[in-house]
């Protein structure tokens, strides 16, 4: 079936979204054209504004509209304490916990040699400078528990130790409120290995 060129262009454009194939793209395009033109225009404006206005924070690499993101610009936070995470979504999750008063360093990925992602590709040259300048005194490693996440954590650990910074890794294991029988074997093995003495 032949679409009019503008409709076809819109469908093609939607397929750039993750997990969206030709069929879903078509559904989205028809939906906006038929039922929600206003929403479509608002989406177009937001996309345009974000794509040209959002950059990376110069200190932590998270998304930012100014040279510093809101967390890095917040003077009440402890800027010598840095939690290293893989993605902006991780920052959001930790912020929602409400427990953390330091800042972040966002790798936007993890070390993955086969994909061509080495230390510089995830901004570790910049983190190295911050460690070297004494700007960072303590590092909390919150990278993923995958093999690549562990390799990334080890690399940053070495970097931090070489610069005299303190390092810790967030605890990993059984989720709160989770029942043991539903926890997968890998997680359980890790939780057992990382068991801690019970304090009275």
């Amino acid at each position: 079936m032949k679409q009019s060129p503008l409709v076809q262009a819109l469908i093609d454009a939607f397929t750039c979204l993750p997990g969206v194939g030709a069929r879903s793209a078509q559904r989205m395009a028809y939906h906006l054209l038929e039922r929600n033109r206003e929403g479509g225009v608002a989406l177009a404006h937001s996309l345009e504004a974000a794509m040209s206005g959002v950059e990376h924070c110069q200190r932590c690499r998270n998304f930012a509209e100014a040279s510093l993101c809101p967390v890095c610009a917040d003077e009440r936070r402890d800027h010598a304490l840095v939690c290293v995470v893989e993605s902006p979504a991780d920052v959001l999750a930790i912020e929602l916990s409400g427990e953390y008063r330091g800042r972040y360093f966002v790798l936007m990925g993890h070390l993955s040699p086969i994909d061509g992602v080495g230390p510089d590709e995830i901004g570790l040259d910049r983190l190295a400078n911050q460690l070297h300048d004494g700007e960072v005194q303590e590092v909390i490693l919150a990278t993923g528990t995958t093999v690549e996440g562990e390799a990334t954590a080890h690399y940053i650990h070495e970097m931090a130790v070489a610069n005299g910074a303190a390092v810790s890794r967030i605890a990993q294991g059984v989720p709160m409120g989770g029942e043991l029988e539903f926890v997968d074997g890998v997680t359980l093995a890790h939780a057992l290995k990382g068991r801690q003495p019970v304090k009275n």
């Binding site: 070390l111 040699p113 086969i114 995958t146 390799a151 690399y155 890998v186």
Partner: protein, 246 residues
């Protein structure tokens, strides 16, 4: 083939017949799926789509699996992957070494080219990397040498390309994929090559020579891009040095 791999059936596996396998690499595919590169005992390197693969935490490198794969080459799908015991505990530099082996294999192996014995060698190398009694560079060099051998690029350390025994007083250079050639001011001293052939791993300079020699022998098969995992070692060593100095 004897040993560990012997009990795994040869020939291309179908969905009913499991194959011992190791994850070399994963990349996201669609919403929750993965395309996984495996090194399998009987099928060599192969790629398969793992539906909902991101929810299967055992689809990780360095973990022995039995995989059940169906479909033709280029469009295989993973029916099931069963863990066969715990992941090999690689930590720190040993983990970099494991990533190096995986990068090497993905660069060097063609898909669906069975390499009998290679998965066994790989497993042995991983076990040794996890064992602090094995010098890691020795494990890597032995694996590199076996890999070249299996791919048909074996390198003799006892004879030159003309079949003449190496002479201690002679210098040699490497002609990749062919072998060592006597050359005045060649990069490798016959004496050192013979020491290496005799398994003399005590001296640091012999180990360096082994590293350089294997690197030169591997280079033509790795393409233009540098191996990223090598950067990890180099920079890791630099961090350590900086730490020792401070």
């Amino acid at each position: 083939m004897t040993g560990r791999c012997g009990r795994w059936a040869m020939g291309m596996s179908d969905a009913r017949q499991g194959d011992r396998a190791w994850v070399l690499h994963r990349r996201p595919y669609r919403n929750t799926s993965l395309i996984v590169e495996f090194l399998t005992a009987s099928g060599g390197r192969l790629a398969a789509v793992a539906r909902s693969g991101r929810r299967q935490p055992h689809l990780q490198p360095f973990r022995p699996l039995t995989v059940f794969v169906s479909g033709r080459a280029e469009l295989r799908s993973l029916k099931n992957a069963e863990p066969e015991g715990a992941a090999i505990p690689l930590r720190g530099e040993a983990l970099y070494c494991g990533l190096y082996l995986n990068e090497l294999l993905v660069r060097m192996l063609h898909r669906d080219d069975p390499q009998p014995g290679l998965a066994g060698c790989y497993e042995e190398a991983l076990q040794r990397l996890a064992d602090d009694d094995w010098p890691r560079d020795l494990v890597l060099r032995q694996f590199e040498q076996s890999l070249l051998q299996m791919l048909g690029y074996g390198l003799s350390l006892e004879h030159d390309v003309h079949g003449q025994p190496l002479q201690p007083g002679q210098d040699y250079r490497l002609v990749p994929d062919e072998g060592l050639v006597a050359a005045a001011n060649g990069r490798y001293a016959g004496r050192d090559l013979l020491a290496l052939a005799a398994g003399d791993w005590q001296q640091a300079d012999i180990r360096r020579l082994a590293r350089d020699l294997m690197r030169e022998a591997l280079a033509p098969h790795l393409g233009d891009r540098p191996l990223i995992s090598r950067q990890l070692f180099r920079q890791g060593a630099a961090h350590k040095q900086a730490g020792d100095e401070s």
